[in-house]
Symmetry: D2
Subunit: 285 residues, 4 copies
């Protein structure tokens, strides 16, 4: 079943919900899901609405144009997504392969509504994984100059019509220009329960602090390292028997499932960003 | 802020959402929250809508009557609740006090939108707890005859205008008549992760089966023991170091928080029952 | 560092711990870890001891023989394992690939102290995965006759010197003969939180029962289906928004990590079976 | 059954385990539990041993003296505890009652091997709770001068022979002198998942950062605020629907069980402190 998904946000005011549902009802759409959230602290309205478009009477463009007119009158920010479009993902990696393998296997098994046309790395180690899954692998070492290396990446992303960049344990900081250009379209996995242990070596610092749980955080990349809007987090209970190396090994499972969960939410158009926070709608499966 | 909460269910059909939101929008209500869920497996529509009633132009009765007319036309089952009414709770206990203490402390601390006018038990042990919190305690031993004992309980529930009965580790099976009369208004806590370990001695059986997690389940009481609609469940990780007695002790924490969570969902009118399942809406706090 | 690991169990009696630690201390071994558990309910003693064998003064056989003599005197059941031996695993699968991919990626990444010389299936679907990881794939359809099919599997396991069989969503029941021959050496993943939902279609039944968490269980295979000793379990919180199909999808993550965790515990010689329960020692990493 | 518990730590060296178990074996003690952990990162040995002292042939003092001699030779730090002694606890609170009620109910229900002879507060609000449980309540407002107020507290702790101080949401910083005098004997509950959100208003900051889980941390108090050795942590999943006030309410459950778990570990002599970390042994119940 093909679906259209509208993500909407605006300052809170009376009647938005009725206007939006009325808009689709008058056009005889079957509303599959409608989720609305009013943040009483921020005085802000958020909404996700999912439509069956089987009997749509207009073109997609006409629908979007009509909705756009109403949105302008009501002062809504919005985006529209069509479920028969496969998001095109580029995965950036360094040496650690666990997150990469996890995403590749999920894609092959049909869990992700996406294509993965390329993998990019600053190290040659994971070419093997790319070959196993028959995905082109681009090796751009940092030794060629940080700026030059990043430019080559950005050029590739354009050439391949990429929609979403996943930093699957890519151990390089991106420039502000890159972040700016791809805002809301880069998902990073950090191997700690943010805001604890921002920056390098979180497992070693977790050991030294003696925490009893370690975690992982998937977030949209922002100019400030490890401070972008969080999409998903999870933790694993640990104890004194784990050395920094043991924490790192145990943490891999947490990283994999947090990243996968965040990527799914993004691909299913369930995430709205406002300020430095995300609204992540849960939906029927 | 006083609120009205409508819980609605019906066979799925187009336009219900728009009709309901339109109904309140036309009457200038501010819709605080609206949650809608369509179960594609059961072809059933569920909805919870929460309204600010500060500027209501009609009486409560008029509003309910008007809504009732529309509901009849659309074929909706529904109920309406007002947030300035405190639900009246009777707690039934036997000998174990941990769930009782937990609920009493939460009520005193203002966590529950409820009054607790009485505690009833088939054992005298917990009179102390009732006295500490200055709540009348009724001791009805089973020795006086099961039917007679239950009749005395049912009479008390009526006399005290009780809305909700909590079985806080009440170790007696209720008769079908009692269940029938109070359907959807009795919450029981079972000390296992249902449907595992229905019936007696779940912790001993959990030990023997060698499970690695134990749990607790809060559900509405039904004629079939431990088979009513589940409201909330949770688990705790255990290992080989726990004897049946140890499992029981560790499980208490799980029982307390599962029961409290289910009671809150009920008191906040977030639960709809359909067949043997519950829809539990999460809402802003 | 090469290590020897002894797993020991016996009826509880005074002095076993001192005798065993004394045995290794007299021979100047460095005891890396020693874990002892006395089950006061079963009156049974369990122990795991891990030794640095760098400076061992005898052959491995002599050490085992000497220990065997003491064990006979004390009435101990025991086994000895050497960390430089890689356990040889056969994976049996049907059509679902998520657990298979997860294990193969972990093995390749060095997480498992094991070799995987072959994959066997009753369906051809997962040959692709086997090829990606360059592991021989044997397709034995049930259509050739259940007994004949199983005999071919058992012959292969011998030919390949297999130590451990993993049923990674292998949807066939093994015969008692097979189970008997491989007791304690077959790990199965069941897609439910046992003992809830034994048998077929657990996710559909979980939906119908309306549970609020779903789980997975890894256990040693036994004659009685889904009733063998449990090694590991975990759960994921779900809600009314998941259909049976959604539960199945969400459950995959739980299955993967529970199976991986159980396999690791087995490979690291941290599991002792007694009656229908397991003692799973946690150790430093 | 009366038990003696020895907690031991030392630099790692061969033979300590055999010496200690031999010591008790020669004296015909029944070793109920023995747990040993060697931290390979810190090169440090930790041990907890639990003895049945029913048939002890010497006085307690003689046993401790004998053990002390061996400990001196081996260079061990150690402490010895007797299970028939009830630890004497003072609880310090401010205005929030949830942790206080939780501990008081547990003590009354027999979960804690402890006495609670007094409650101290810098606010009068919780006198009611103290009265309900018939425990003397001391109200020392800060307005009388911070130093003077603390001196009165410290005098009371001495007068009542207090062994352990629980800061159950006591919203005052203790002086270095107080901390120094009571090192390892003050347990604080912090309403965040440390080291995230140290300091004031963690729930508001958690909201602003948009975390997807909130937590609580129980730790021994140290000179540096919220930086002492962590005993226990736990988290609860949250989402965008919770305001700062909602996070605070939801977090209470987490605080209660984390504090209770840490207090139990301390009372059962299962915690060893080394540097800024704790070793928390799990034991049979």
């Amino acid at each position: 079943m093909t679906k259209a998904i509208f993500l909407i946000q605006s300052p809170d005011s009376k009647g938005i919900l009725a206007s939006v549902t009325g808009f689709f009802s008058q056009r005889s759409f079957n509303i599959l899901h409608c989720q609305q959230h009013t943040d009483s602290f921020e005085k802000r309205f958020f909404m996700r609405i999912e439509l069956d478009v089987a009997d749509m009477q207009t073109t997609r463009k006409e629908l979007e144009d009509d909705f756009g007119k109403m949105a302008d009158e009501l002062g809504l920010e919005w985006s529209c997504h069509w479920s028969d479009y496969k998001t095109r993902i580029a995965i950036l990696v360094s040496k650690e392969g666990h997150c990469l393998y996890d995403i590749l296997a999920r894609q092959l098994e049909g869990e992700l509504n996406a294509e993965i046309p390329l993998i990019i790395s600053n190290h040659p180690d994971l070419e093997r994984a790319a070959n196993q899954f028959r995905i082109p692998f681009y090796f751009f070492p940092i030794t060629e100059g940080k700026e030059e290396q990043e430019n080559r990446i950005r050029a590739l992303l354009k050439r391949f019509d990429i929609d979403l960049v996943i930093l699957a344990r890519y151990m390089q900081i991106l420039t502000s220009d890159f972040i700016e250009e791809w805002r809301g379209k880069i998902i990073n996995i950090h191997h700690a329960f943010l805001p604890a242990f921002q920056g390098a070596n979180p497992y070693k610092r977790a050991y030294e602090r003696g925490v009893k749980m370690i975690g992982a955080t998937a977030h949209y990349a922002s100019e400030d390292l490890d401070q972008g809007p969080i999409i998903e987090q999870d933790v694993i209970r640990v104890n004194h028997e784990l050395t920094p190396k043991g924490l790192k090994e145990v943490g891999k499972d947490c990283e994999k499932r947090v990243l996968a969960s965040a990527v799914k939410a993004h691909l299913e158009h369930r995430v709205i960003i406002y300020k430095n926070r995300t609204i992540v709608f849960a939906v029927e499966r």
